[in-house]
């Protein structure tokens, strides 16, 4: 693809350093304030989807008074259409461990955990071997930072940070009330930094290259690059590291099959962008954010089926504790079926849109709150497909 118009980046999967764990060793010698300042300067935002400024998160946890603190790497990657964390963990695990250890130093944590979804259990032997090596190296650097892998057991909601803590503590993965937030009351009620796999890697690369060079990539609101998981109707599905802040039409030009009618940005809980809006859509925190999932649909696809599939997913993967999400998801799915079958008039879709709006503002956690994203963007943009 020599004529590519999109800037390919080689940060995440690029070389770690010339000697093993050098970035880590160098960073561990630096002062915490300096590390935080570099992070702040870099403008790094979390890569798990919500886009919270990483430096601020670390600072809050660093300032939280407690003898016990934790660093957790969120490798639950369950969002439909996302598979980049698996790739990162299998190709550059050392960067992930290093990022976690740097975080541990900055916030004063004694231990790190990786919460790995059970679907990725096959990575366990290799990761365990790598971890042994890591522990050896970091021991030599005079910083004791054990990292342990905790396995999930098949529950998308456990990617939500507070549900993840519940799961790690041996409970049902039901999200907690917030506030309090993880930075003061996280795992075992202790101050905790939880970041996405990719976020930790970005930290390492910022430490290696410096914030200035990192900032050269992306836009003001979306610094750096992003690993994209590209799937659906594309001749070249796979994992691509691209600059943030690109317009969607350029993306489609490159990855589409020439007949792309819609792109789902950010997975089932993200937004569906129809063809006519490709040009005006920016991929990044200023536009449509994404944890990396980009699913392309061409004109042979029924958007009704796509939405139905997403709603099925949410209905099963909702933890079920709160009313708007547990019952709302059932109503939305059965509602579109009823409209399609003619049991309900087309106008019922408007009721459902209002319901999804209520779910967005009343659900207890991000899952229930984001069902409306795909629901309203698909229903509004493809109303005919919902009815006929």
């Amino acid at each position: 693809m020599s004529e590519s118009k999109l800037k390919r980046v080689d940060l995440i999967f690029g070389e770690y350093s010339n000697t093993k764990y050098k970035v880590l060793a160098d960073t561990l010698k630096r002062r915490n304030e300096d590390i935080l300042e570099d992070l702040m300067e870099s403008g790094l935002k979390g890569r798990g989807g919500a886009g919270f400024p990483t430096a601020m998160k670390w600072k809050l946890a660093a300032d939280a008074p407690s003898d016990t603190k934790y660093v957790i790497c969120n490798a639950d990657e369950g969002e439909p259409g996302t598979f980049k964390d698996r790739e990162i963990l299998s190709r550059v695990p050392r960067k992930v461990f290093s990022g976690m250890a740097i975080c541990g130093k900055v916030i004063g944590a004694q231990k790190g955990y990786i919460y790995l979804r059970s679907e990725y259990k096959f990575l366990l032997p290799e990761l365990t071997r790598e971890l042994e090596m890591f522990h050896e190296h970091i021991g030599k650097m005079g910083f004791d930072f054990p990292i342990e892998i905790k396995l999930g057991s098949g529950a998308y909601i456990c990617g939500e940070e507070s549900a993840l803590f519940e799961s790690m503590e041996g409970f049902r993965g039901e999200p907690r009330n917030k506030p309090p937030y993880p930075t003061t009351h996280g795992f075992m009620g202790k101050p905790t930094v939880i970041n996405n796999v990719e976020t930790f890697v970005n930290v390492v690369m910022i430490m290696r290259l410096g914030p200035v060079q990192f900032k050269l990539l992306g836009t003001t609101d979306s610094r750096g690059s992003k690993v994209f998981s590209v799937s659906g109707d594309t001749p070249i599905p796979g994992i691509y590291e691209l600059e943030l802040g690109m317009p969607l039409d350029r993306f489609v030009e490159e990855f589409g099959d020439g007949d792309t009618k819609a792109v789902q940005v950010g997975g089932a809980s993200g937004f569906c962008v129809p063809r006519k809006k490709f040009k005006d859509t920016i991929i990044g925190f200023e536009g449509v954010p994404t944890g990396g999932s980009m699913m392309l649909f061409n004109s042979s696809r029924s958007m009704y089926n796509v939405l139905h599939n997403y709603l099925d997913f949410f209905e099963e993967e909702s933890c079920g504790q709160c009313t708007p999400c547990r019952v709302g998801c059932q109503q939305l799915r059965k509602g579109i079926v009823a409209v399609k079958k003619g049991d309900k008039k087309a106008g019922y879709l408007d009721q459902l849109l209002k319901l999804s709006e209520s779910m967005k503002i009343t659900a207890k956690c991000g899952l229930g709150q984001s069902v409306a994203n795909s629901f309203s963007s698909i229903v509004n943009n493809f109303k005919e497909e919902m009815i006929y």
Binding site: R86, S118, L151, S231, V306
Partner: protein
């Protein structure tokens, strides 16, 4: 049948606090593919929980079955991209080969066929897991070969 020894070993390894619950349940599933009611009672005793608490926790997680499953648990991804790229034919092929429907276990207790949500192989869909091993880029032919191989395994 209870796995008293297995559970005792798991407790020795993971401890008796609540954080040990999931690793212990996972350990039982690793050994048996499911957690029986007597196993749950045993775990509850060891961890000083009520049996209902163990049951409630186990049933939250898709991979912690409380119903007996076969030796090989096949989980075919049903989420959108795998669905678009021919999941249905994959499931059909397996159903025909094993003579079971989705959700069922073969009479010889060797295979269970399940569907599951996104496995994280969307770019190589359709995908499936057999126990923990992923298989991707499936076609009816490929899946036929894979399953045949498992059938011939002792």
């Amino acid at each position: 049948m209870t796995n008293e020894h297995l559970i005792r070993d798991l407790v020795k390894k993971h401890g008796r606090s609540r954080v040990a619950l999931l690793p212990i349940l996972q350990g039982v599933v690793d050994a048996n593919n499911f957690i029986s009611d007597s196993d749950m009672v045993e775990i509850a005793k060891e961890l000083d929980l009520s049996a209902a608490q163990v049951f409630g926790t186990a049933t939250f997680y898709s991979f912690l079955s409380t119903e007996p499953l076969g030796k090989y648990v096949i989980r075919v991804c049903k989420t959108i991209t795998c669905d678009m790229h021919g999941k249905k034919q994959i499931v059909q092929t397996i159903e025909e080969m094993l003579k079971v429907k989705v959700g069922e276990t073969t009479p010889n207790k060797k295979f269970s066929l399940l569907e599951t949500n996104c496995l994280g192989w969307c770019h190589e869909g359709p995908a499936m897991l057999i126990n923990e091993k992923p298989f991707t880029g499936l076609t009816p032919e490929r899946v036929h070969d894979i399953i045949s191989e498992y059938i011939s395994k002792s």
